[in-house]
């Protein structure tokens, strides 16, 4: 953004202006500013959830939209994600300690076997956390046994899989088939995503839901568990 932004004193802005400014700063990937804005809102007595939703998640939703429309590119999105992480760092401990903010459900997510692309998965994980999910991230190159083990251990409300390579996309189908064999699919909705996927592919492998981008995915996940925080 332009130079004049450097002169803006966040503390001097009223709440609405500050939230708008934080969304701008998040868009521009300004980590210290977003962190500072988060702290100011908290100091003004804002509920941590409201800070998260109104400033951070909403800011990131705008980033996601512009990424989808080709206005922003991967590095800018990553910068914004880092700015959001800055704010989340302050909010997370507060959210974890407050009783009203019990998790809306556990979401187990991983990039499938043979694939080590993880930017999209990490972004989805962050937005899900913002939506109130407890996110268990299995990382990259996750095979069916690791998914099964995590399902056993965490009893998730939703399982999410990510793939960015044409050669690894089919593995999502392998995992779903395995879940089906064990009769687990009826209780465990599976969400899939990744740039080369589309709805048709998701349908073909019998996935419950296809998530086109992080904001949409977190909306869909909330709808699946039927809870909004």
């Amino acid at each position: 953004m332009s130079d004049q932004d450097e002169d803006i004193i966040l503390k001097d802005l009223d709440d609405n202006e500050l939230v708008a400014q934080m969304q701008d700063d998040l868009y521009d990937g300004m980590i210290p500013e977003v962190t500072e804005g988060t702290q100011i809102l908290l100091d003004r007595g804002w509920d941590a959830n409201m800070v998260l939703n109104d400033a951070l998640v909403e800011g990131m939703r705008i980033v996601g939209e512009d990424f989808r429309d080709g206005i922003l590119f991967v590095p800018e999105v990553l910068q914004s994600a880092n700015a959001m992480k800055g704010g989340m760092g302050l909010l997370r401990p507060i959210l974890a300690n407050s009783s009203v903010n019990s998790s809306v459900g556990t979401f187990v997510i991983g990039t499938v076997k043979g694939d080590i692309h993880d930017i999209g998965k990490n972004l989805v994980g962050m937005m899900l956390e913002g939506a109130g999910f407890e996110v268990v991230d299995l990382g990259i190159n996750t095979d069916v046994d690791q998914f099964l083990h995590a399902i056993d251990e965490h009893d998730p409300a939703i399982l999410g899989m990510s793939a960015l390579l044409t050669t690894t996309m089919p593995y999502m189908g392998v995992v779903i088939e395995e879940l089906d064999k064990r009769d687990m699919l009826k209780d465990l909705p599976v969400m899939v995503g990744g740039a080369p996927l589309n709805q048709e592919f998701a349908d073909a492998i019998n996935a419950h839901t296809y998530g086109r981008d992080a904001a949409m995915s977190s909306e869909l996940a909330k709808a699946i568990v039927g809870k909004n925080r």
Binding site: G70, V74, Q79, G114, I116, L165, T166, P196, L197
Partner: protein, 214 residues
């Protein structure tokens, strides 16, 4: 390119419609094999925005397809999620190179899989990518503007494998420099033109058997 298509020695009109990242190799192969075909390329930058590949390819096929008897599509799936193959089903004259991407068709499919088995954290360079690493990868990933993002991109990687099409010390040095910049180990494998050579040859030869349309 305008006007009528060039006619091959066999009288067939052949078009190779390829990614800009393999243009130089195709020109090289054309003279190596002593064959005639028209070559049209889509921007190499589509590597980072594969959603552009299918619509652009369709536009070219619709505009120029009629001028040719056979068309070789110089692409892998390249992140179109099967979209390219679905498009090509409606253009029976066109055939695509095998494999998911150029690393696979330069290395050979089983060879590529073996390298991934050996080390999943492999990042591949070709001659083209080694030469254009700064523009396509470093700048393309925004590392010139945000060097701090390096870890977010490459933390899971261990080595750069340079799949060498040519034996060129200068390109090898560039590939090595790229590995150093990424903080990864470096390996060089001589692949030559791999399946690109084989398939281009097959493409030309199979067209020979067909009646010419002059």
């Amino acid at each position: 390119m305008s006007g009528r298509a060039n006619i091959s020695a066999q009288g067939n009109r052949l078009l190779v419609l390829a990614c800009g990242a393999i243009a130089k190799e195709l020109v090289q192969l054309k003279s190596m094999l002593g064959v005639e075909f028209d070559l049209q390329c889509l921007p190499a930058g589509y590597h980072n925005t594969p959603q552009n590949i299918v619509p652009d390819m369709k536009a070219i096929l619709d505009a120029r397809g009629d001028e040719y008897d056979r068309i070789l599509i110089g692409y892998g799936d390249c992140g179109t999620g099967g979209g390219l193959d679905r498009l090509l089903e409606t253009y029976p004259k066109a055939t695509r190179l095998p494999g998911a991407h150029c690393y696979a068709f330069f290395a050979g499919l089983p060879e590529f899989d073996a390298m991934m088995q050996e080390e999943l954290g492999s990042f591949f360079l070709t001659d083209y990518l080694a030469l254009h690493f700064e523009t396509l990868i470093w700048k393309g990933m925004g590392l010139d503007r945000y060097p701090d993002l390096l870890g977010m991109y490459f933390a899971n990687y261990k080595r750069v494998v340079y799949l060498a099409q040519t034996d060129d010390a200068a390109i090898t040095a560039k590939a090595k420099a790229a590995a150093d910049k990424l903080g990864l180990d470096f390996e060089r494998r001589d692949t030559g033109y791999g399946l690109l050579y084989d398939d281009l040859k097959t493409f030309i030869e199979s067209a020979k058997g067909e009646p010419a349309h002059v």
